[in-house]
Amino acid sequence: MAASPTPTNVLEVRDIHTDIGQFHILDGVSVEVPEGSITVLLGRNGAGKTTTLKSIIGLTPPHSGAVALRGREIQGEPAYRIAARGIGYVPEHRAIFRDLSVEENLRIAERKPGDLSRRGDFIFDLFPDLKRLIKLPGGNLSGGQQQMLAVARALVPENELLLIDEPSEGLAPVIIEQMMEAIRQLSAHTTVLLVEQNFIMASQLADRYTIIETGRSVKSGRMADLVKDEETITRYLGAT
């Protein structure tokens, strides 16, 4: 790895191992997420990218290894306390609350009263559609709108880090463009760790990458170097 002077890392994942039931899913994953960056986890289906995010937020706690948020180890704490330390989580399949209105979906994420009114302008600038739909039940939104709501929800409290799992999954190309633009804009305020199957989207958005292969992190570095490294791309990610 490059020996350049490391900027401060918001998040450091060091050699975590995670089991789900009797299955050994993560078998040594390490990720560094420098402040202000967009870091992307790449890898084939089932490699363990989603489980890595879940292990960070504490939904599937790792049984060994360390997760440090700004140098402070948080692994093993209950998920709600890890989240309250300043991590926003946008799970795959746009897990919004379908029976709650758009406004309630946002309001439930408040950690302090008034979070939503403080951050409302920023959020609705990014996703103007949501303002129009504010009273509708989340379940009535289109797929793209739901995905926007899931990202917006993670922006309601002041988070240091956003974990975003497959934001482009199942969306129309136009919507993917909008989503990319929104993530690019919000990354000016918050550090992002992204899981993205769509390599084109990932390569345009991210500054850094980590490749996960069968539960192990095998390679990480600068995105700019990866796009030139066709051998690595074909070896770990299949075709470009």
Binding site: L59, P61, P78, Y80, D99, I108, A109
Partner: protein
């Protein structure tokens, strides 16, 4: 318009079916008969709802099927009855619960430090066994020879019990000894309930809070005992109406506390292990009724006298007339209907609205609704869902217990009253859709009406058009009708009318 149809399809279909059915029944029955059956059904529905709403919320949020919910209904009824008729029983038994909680809370707070010192698995097993033995020994010693049957003679002191208070209760010194032993028994139980693994530990509340809660509980416990004689005299001197309100309040509070107790001891240690939770609540549904029979006796009690608002021996012409006359029945299209049952219906509606507002308008309600859908995601937003679980369990238990108290003047009080209502409530929840609050309400209304009409047709028979004979059903058909409805609903919508969960 289309959105309205899309969002409420289940409700609209059911409403249409019910309206058509009711209109058909109205054709074949006299309006006054039809109306009184409807009201009887609504009375049953209100009571079913008080049990079913809690069951549904608890299942929706925590995936726990609480088979002990019927026990809470019975507990509420008995605590209410004792408050109303036999306060000396309360003054001599409630202190045990308060001091037990006091000891338990203190020991649970410091328990984690105890378990941290014992590293080896073997020593932990030994420590657990020793603690169980010590706790069981202390409880047995404390309760050996406790004159529960005398305290409870005929469940009545209000109108002159068979045993005088002085004979029924033990001398103060003996009671103080018993209560103190239960306080001490709380300590090993608290240690047993303390988190044994670091990963199970919830954030520790400040020491002063623990000591304050425990202190208040202990003081209340001993104080209740010390004032038992003036307390009993005072309570019996209160008017029957005040005692009725007190019965509802204490019965409901008892249900809430029992709910917290069940959640923290039987449910919380076993999240992620639903079979264990199921078996534990099933066991409690049997042991709980046995415990209630041990305290209050196996024989049933006649209905509690209703408050004076519903007691005057007359028949009012209208609700307005009833407001002045306080008659026990009211004229509904020329037929008498007991006013107390209207009160039960009113309570059912009031609770439906109050809990609905709680769910719709408050932050905790929002968290509950979100948690029913995806508890993991709620956690990932930084919200401690477990704390909400305890609240919902307490709320559901309180509603069931309240149902028990309110049913007491209508049904009487007997140990089997809970299993009856629990079964119907389960069916109502399944019909309405597990975890849906509105579903629970709709399910209970359907069941209440089905039972009422079923009972009527068993008694009076059905006039089949174009036939002279009257077809009478057997009582078994009336009882089976609810299960039949459930089967039909599940065939059409496997998740229930409003169900979203599998």
């Amino acid at each position: 318009m289309t959105a309205l149809w899309k969002n409420n399809r289940g409700l609209l279909i059911i409403a249409a079916i019910v309206v058509v059915l009711m209109a058909g029944l109205l054709q074949s029955l006299e309006p006054k008969v039809w109306m009184s059956i409807m009201l009887s059904g609504a009375t049953l529905a209100a009571l079913y709802f008080l049990v079913a709403s809690g069951l549904s919320l608890i299942f929706g949020l925590m995936d726990v099927l609480n088979f002990a919910h019927g026990v809470l209904f019975v507990l509420g009824a008995y605590v209410g009855l004792s408050t109303f008729m036999n306060p000396r029983l309360l003054f001599n038994t409630l202190p045990f619960f308060f001091v037990l909680v006091a000891g338990l809370i203190v020991a649970q707070h410091f328990g984690r430090f105890f378990w941290r010192r014992i590293g080896a698995v073997r020593s932990r097993q030994v420590a657990t066994a020793v603690l169980v033995l010590v706790a069981a020994g202390l409880v047995l010693l404390a309760l050996r020879g406790f004159p529960i049957r005398a305290l409870n003679a005929f469940n009545i002191t209000a109108v002159g019990g068979a045993v005088t208070t002085a004979e029924a209760q033990e001398p103060m010194a003996a009671m103080l000894r018993r209560v103190t032993m239960v306080l001490l028994a709380g300590l090993p139980i608290g240690l047993l309930l303390a988190p044994k693994q670091a990963r199970d530990e919830l954030p520790l509340r400040p020491v002063w809070q623990t000591l304050l809660i425990a202190g208040v509980a202990a003081v209340v416990g001993y104080a209740l005992l010390l004032v038992r004689d003036p307390g009993e005299t005072f309570m019996l001197a209160l008017s029957a109406d005040v005692r009725f309100v007190l019965a509802i309040v204490l019965g409901t509070v008892a249900g809430a506390l029992a709910g917290v107790g069940i959640e923290t001891t039987l449910i919380r240690p076993f999240y992620g292990n639903p079979v264990t939770q199921l078996v534990l609540t099933l066991g409690l549904s049997i042991a709980g009724i046995d415990l209630i029979e041990a305290v209050w006796g196996e024989e049933g009690n006649p209905p509690m006298p209703p408050p004076s608002l519903f007691a005057a021996n007359c028949r009012s012409d209208s609700l307005l007339g009833w407001l002045g006359e306080h008659c026990q029945s009211i004229d509904v299209l020329g037929r008498a209907f007991p006013t107390y049952r209207l009160f039960i219906i009113a309570i059912g509606i009031a609770v439906f609205i109050a809990v609905g507002l709680l769910l719709r308008r408050t932050r905790i309600g929002m968290i509950i609704r979100a948690g029913v859908q995806d508890g993991e995601m709620v956690q990932a937003l930084g919200i401690n869902v477990r704390r909400v679980f305890t609240f919902v369990f307490a709320l559901g238990s309180a509603l069931a217990a309240m149902g028990g108290v309110i049913a007491a003047p209508y049904l009487g009080v007997f140990p089997a009253m809970g299993s009856l209502f629990q079964l119907q409530a389960f069916i109502a929840v399944v019909i309405g859709g597990m975890g849906s609050y509105v579903g629970a309400a709709v399910g209970t209304i359907i069941l209440g009406l089905a039972r009422a009409f079923g009972d009527h047709f068993v008694a009076a028979g059905i006039n089949v058009p174009f036939l002279d004979t009257v077809i009478k059903g057997s009582p078994a058909i009336a009882r089976a009708s609810t299960v039949l409805i459930m089967a039909i609903v599940l065939l059409v919508k496997p998740a229930g009318i409003f169900g979203k969960k599998e």
